[in-house]
């Protein structure tokens, strides 16, 4: 053996599995191996490499990620999302006139997935300068787009405890919700709802008489977001407008990234600048330019990633 070769390790092309104390994982290995070998035999006949077959161990790992959320919320309540909301992607995807909007949400998702892969962020809070700029609808439709990716469990949190827009859009489910988690020791499982869209969970706002700013300043919000981001691959948080309310900053403190929604012909440039100045620049993911005129050059919606984010 040459002097350098003892540093050069080889993986022999055998199926031997090294001895290990973990008996159960061994069983798993054997069954997976059998499965892979049977697939492999099929692939070799065709003379083509079966990429899916090679990537199977990675797919299995991705499934684990979604199983963690499923097991933790095994006994949570289920709701059927309303299908009557006209602006909602739920119905609009069957409406040809809204195809441009659907496409814009998909583009937004694609860009966010790319950023997420790079930065590792699993939580995204969406805000705007004032009410009525379209953040709740953006978040809802974006979540539906995300849930369509296999093994990408998504949780949408209605953190706008004042207007509860997202909860209303989701059919105004009964309490408990986020407020009860923050105010009392309500279990996450009893507040989070499984929707009829696979992979999509919703945490409604809940009810409280306490000041939202007080609730978000406690340790429980941080604890909850920690738990949520380790269970879900994406946690989307709908927050109140950023200007004039303390809630947003407290909410954003426990989120890894921030996206701002601005509405064409409505959001004053100065307000948008104010919002952006208020956010930690490292967290800004981008600005959604909502309800822009449809022209051949710009779609129904536009999304611009912030340079240097």
């Amino acid at each position: 053996m040459s002097k350098f070769f003892n540093e050069t390790r080889t993986v022999r092309k055998t199926d031997s599995v090294p001895a290990t104390a973990n008996v159960n994982i061994q069983d798993l290995v054997s069954s997976l191996k059998e499965h892979m070998e049977s697939n492999g035999a099929a692939a070799s006949h065709s003379g083509q490499i079966d990429l899916q077959h090679l990537l199977q161990p990675l797919e299995e790992s991705n499934e684990v990620a979604s199983q963690v959320a499923a097991v933790r919320l095994e006994n949570c309540r289920s709701i059927k999302l309303p299908r009557t909301e006209e602006r909602s992607f739920l119905v609009s995807q069957y409406n040809p006139a809204m195809q441009a909007a659907v496409e814009a949400y998909r583009t937004l998702r694609t860009r966010l997935v790319k950023q997420q892969t790079r930065t590792g962020a699993r939580s995204l809070v969406i805000t705007s300068s004032a009410q009525g700029e379209g953040k709740t609808l953006t978040i809802f439709n974006l979540a539906i787009c995300y849930a369509k990716i296999e093994n990408w469990p998504v949780l949408v949190v209605d953190a706008d405890l004042r207007t509860r827009g997202l909860s209303i859009l989701a059919g105004d489910p009964e309490s408990p919700g986020l407020a009860e988690i923050l105010e009392r020791d309500c279990s996450y499982q009893s507040a989070i709802l499984r929707t009829d869209i696979p992979g999509l969970h919703i945490l409604p706002a809940g009810e409280t008489s306490a000041s939202p700013s007080e609730l978000f300043s406690g340790q429980k919000w941080k604890e909850f977001m920690g738990w949520a981001t380790e269970s879900f691959r994406l946690v989307l948080v709908d927050s109140p407008p950023a200007l004039n309310l303390a809630d947003f900053e407290l909410i954003a403190a426990s989120c890894e990234s921030v996206m701002v929604v601005a509405r064409a012909r409505k959001t004053p440039r100065e307000s948008l600048a104010k919002v952006l100045a208020q956010v930690d620049p490292r967290k800004i993911t981008g600005v959604v330019f909502n309800a822009a005129e449809e022209t051949p050059e710009n779609g129904y919606y536009r999304y611009t990633a912030k340079a240097g984010a």
């Binding site: 040459s2 350098f4 104390a21 973990n22 492999g40 161990p57 892969t117």
Partner: protein
């Protein structure tokens, strides 16, 4: 030792050494997927970079294992894994031939090139690839990198037979931009970047490992324990595994159903860790992220 106490069926942080079934963290899964797709898509030359301690070598072993399952008796897939590339060109050839299990008729360059030609032709005919993985490639002297380019010139088939993966620390990329290596740089078709885990990825990774090990109830780690694990390990998976394993050992000795910062710190002390783990400087992380 502690598995039963925490409702686990096996040790979550000491899973099987077979990397094919090792549960990897999400960024590592993404990088590995890109590498496998690169080889299967016959992209030719791939470059993979990541700062110290981010798990590059583990990933390359996973890649080799995964690819070895493409091989059948009729269509063997040859792969070579060179981990110490501070070699002379002659030594590199010797290492490659040994790894690829081929023999030249004489220890001369023409004989070696002929043997390689034959291997590439046979692989082309059977529609398989020859994979050469070079770890720590940032340590390669320029003349050795040039040798790799010449190797790739042997591959004149319509679909690339020879798949080369150069893996190293982030300084590998600037190394490849040197004017004398321009010809090689043009051949790079896939660049994958590995980084350490973020706090949430660290938490998710721990939660997933516990799930794979059979946990179905609440996590035995509280929030501040998980934050301490991240602080001490800087998101390096190998270190996360060892500190979590030791922490649950401490928790079991103290009969704690929920472990906190104290148990993590005690475990770190047992392991002789005084400072957070040395990983890449923020500058090199920034380079990797860009």
């Amino acid at each position: 030792m502690y598995s039963n106490f925490y409702g686990l069926k096996q040790d979550p942080f000491r899973l099987t050494p077979d990397p094919r079934f090792l549960h990897l963290a999400e960024p590592h899964r993404n990088t590995l997927r890109a590498m496998v797709e690169g080889v299967v898509g016959r992209k030719g030359l791939q470059v993979a970079i990541g700062p110290i301690g981010t798990g590059k070598t583990t990933l390359l072993y996973c890649l080799q294992h995964i690819l070895s399952h493409e091989a059948t008796r009729e269509r063997p897939l040859r792969s070579a894994f060179v981990v110490n590339p501070t070699l002379t060109p002659d030594e590199l050839f010797e290492a490659l031939f040994d790894e690829l299990e081929i023999h030249a008729s004489a220890p001369t360059k023409p004989a070696r090139l002929r043997a390689l030609h034959e291997l590439l032709l046979a692989s082309h005919k059977s529609n398989t690839a020859v994979v050469v993985i070079i770890d720590e490639a940032h340590l390669m002297p320029p003349e050795l990198i040039e040798e790799v380019r010449l190797l790739m010139n042997l591959d004149n088939y319509p679909v690339n037979v020879l798949q080369v993966i150069l893996c190293g620390q982030p300084e590998l990329l600037p190394l490849l931009t040197k004017p004398e290596l321009a010809a090689l740089k043009q051949r790079i078709s896939v660049v994958t970047k590995l980084r350490a885990l973020t706090l949430t990825e660290t938490r998710a990774y721990i939660a997933e490992r516990l799930y794979v090990a059979g946990l179905r109830g609440e996590s035995p780690f509280n929030t501040s324990a998980l934050e301490e694990v991240f602080r001490l390990t800087n998101g390096v998976p190998r270190l996360i595994n060892s500190i979590c394993d030791h922490t649950l050992g401490v928790g079991f000795r103290r009969q704690l159903k929920k472990v906190g910062v104290d148990a993590v710190l005690e475990a770190a002390e047992e392991m002789g860790w005084e400072q957070p783990a040395p990983v890449a400087s923020p500058e090199s992380m920034a380079k990797t992220a860009s």
